[in-house]
Symmetry: C2
Subunit: 368 residues, 2 copies
């Protein structure tokens, strides 16, 4: 399974794997794909620096990338204190009541609680770019909209290509007009921030919109070799995957408190997700749990705009995380969750993708 993208990035397989775990990202790169580390969880630049040093040393010299959230259109600045003042009291009391109703215990007094998610702020995201460019990275991806022009310029000066996610052909055109090198066409079925157009329609739309100006990765609904073959049949040069790495052994071993989340994912069907604004303020597909259902109730307030919604729920997320209850998980995941039924090593997931791909392509070949 090779496409021209493999040569361009020096990888064996055109499989890009997004994950917040450096252990998973490194395993994806070591297995021949390109692991992309999600940086939004790092508030302190020093913390990211240390993790990327670890990546440099644990990827067998193979390429890896980083994913940084830089929402181009959101006025996402100001200190956390300033922003916190903008959160209505009614929203706070709703969150408190939901946590009580769902029997989510308070955090122990000695918890060193993570302060909000500052990675959504531009200044923090730019500090991530600074840090990442000092490491052996092969890609900077922006998880939300077109990356700012200065970030693209700095990446290009360092010889690092830039990727951006698109939910419409028009988004993709805006990205390449701004200098983006690699477009991720993310369909409705994807986990996290996602639009309304499904991969089957979106991928060829984006491929045709950007033409030969940039290769396109298909994202959304890809967890098997058949789906990877479908993505390439649609014109993609490779795939961008995220959800499928959440149920890996490496994720479990290195992300504290992931047991309840993995139990919830393993038992979920493809119908057990919901696209909602409750995670960040922008529509994102999450696992459907008692937490998302509480926000869908008639008495629930409308979620706040980004970045306020994430600040509003960040303490709740910490409590939910500590509660370790599969029915109250708050987790972005795509519809492919219905097929994530076992905890497996990263290398096995990759081997299955390759085997399934080969089988699908031979099967298609026989129809000619």
């Amino acid at each position: 399974m090779r496409t021209p993208l493999c040569d361009r990035f020096g990888i064996d397989l055109p499989i890009f794997g997004f994950t917040p775990s450096e252990h998973v990202a490194a395993a994806i790169s070591r297995a021949g794909g390109l692991g992309v580390l999600g940086c939004v969880r790092f508030n302190a630049a020093e913390e990211l620096d240390a993790v990327l040093s670890w990546m440099d040393e644990n990827t067998d010299g193979k390429p890896y990338g980083v994913d940084i959230v830089m929402p181009a259109k959101v006025p996402a600045e100001g200190s956390q204190t300033d922003l916190t003042k903008l959160i209505p009291e009614g929203h706070r009391s709703f969150v408190d009541k939901v946590l009580q109703d769902l029997s989510v215990p308070p955090l122990p007094d000695d918890t060193d609680e993570r302060a909000g998610v500052l990675g959504w702020l531009h200044s923090v995201a730019r500090s991530h770019v600074d840090v990442a460019l000092n490491h052996r990275i092969s890609l900077i991806a922006n998880a939300l909209g077109s990356p700012p022009a200065d970030v693209i310029s700095r990446a290009h000066e360092a010889g690092v290509p830039v990727a951006a996610l698109a939910g419409k052909g028009a988004h993709a055109l805006r990205h390449v007009d701004g200098g983006v090198d690699l477009v991720v066409a993310q369909g409705h079925e994807a986990g996290g921030h996602t639009g309304e157009i499904a991969s089957m329609v979106l991928v060829p739309e984006v491929v045709d919109a950007v033409g030969d100006r940039a290769p396109v990765l298909a994202a959304g609904g890809i967890g098997s070799g058949r789906q990877m073959a479908a993505a390439l049949a649609l014109g993609a040069s490779g795939v961008w995957t995220g959800s499928i790495w959440l149920t890996t052994e490496e994720y479990h071993q290195t992300m504290p408190g992931s047991t309840a989340m993995q139990r919830a994912l393993v038992s979920a069907t493809s119908a057990d997700t919901v696209r909602t604004r409750v995670y960040t303020g922008k529509p994102a597909r999450l696992l459907k749990t008692r937490w998302t259902e509480a926000w869908a109730a008639p008495e629930a307030p409308d979620p706040l705009p980004m970045p306020l919604q994430n600040l509003l729920v960040s303490h709740a997320h910490n409590r939910i995380h500590a509660a370790d209850d599969p029915t109250v998980v708050s987790m972005p995941v795509g519809q492919i969750v219905g097929r994530m039924n076992r905890i497996r090593p990263v290398a096995e997931v990759i081997a299955d993708l390759v085997e399934g791909y080969e089988e699908a392509v031979s099967r298609l070949d026989k129809t000619r």
Copy 2:
């Protein structure tokens, strides 16, 4: 492009084309696919009988099928008068006001107005089955849920296979358990009644759920050879298409008053659809127009359950149809509408599907 389904149905191409126009259906069959005539528009059995006689004579002896709406779970019986009494006055006045706001003129006094859509009623659907079994049909499809057991038995006695649409793996299993011979996995991106799971995830889910008990057709998002190759890569044995036939020359020539609808479809993008209950009472994807937007307004009432909603809007549909205004169309269509940009003959659409399929499969073959 051949799959075992071609031998089973005696067709050259595993392309099933659903359409309310007998001229389009016949052209699909003549071009090597299997045209499936939607019967819900026929209230009188005699009318359907005459049209199927025409099909018998205009398909060059090639196979064709019929699609009949038999909602298994809906208590869809009673005379139109009885049902009409169940429609709240507030809903009627809302529809009247919207039509006025949208400048949709009343019908001329001498209009021979179609009476509701009785095809949704079980007794009418069964009369369609009676009529169809007297013709040279190769398939009876049920557009909504599992077909009733007696209908499956009668079709099988006549040697006619039965197809049913599924939006989840569980639906598909229920269908084959009930004797259905062919499952149509219809993704979220499809036009008309459609579920939440996108084709990329749904097709392999349904294929694996039914195993070798029934072949699976992929529906939703399929309008090009690349998409057809993707569907087969996902494990489908063929494709079920609907939207793409709405912008054919044959449709235009034979469906009176389709000019405004076709103008609206040709200029729409993939983002210009909405999944809503306003057409029948069940969620269906429609072209987004000023009509659907009016129902999405805060002051709009919730749509009524099936079959009442269709009775409520049937007169409005007649007025909208006569108004011939592309901005006030009420029409089921999938997200593929973004690529339906020209009025073309059916044979050209089929030729493009075949050519694009061959190109996609050769391209995939080179990645091995």
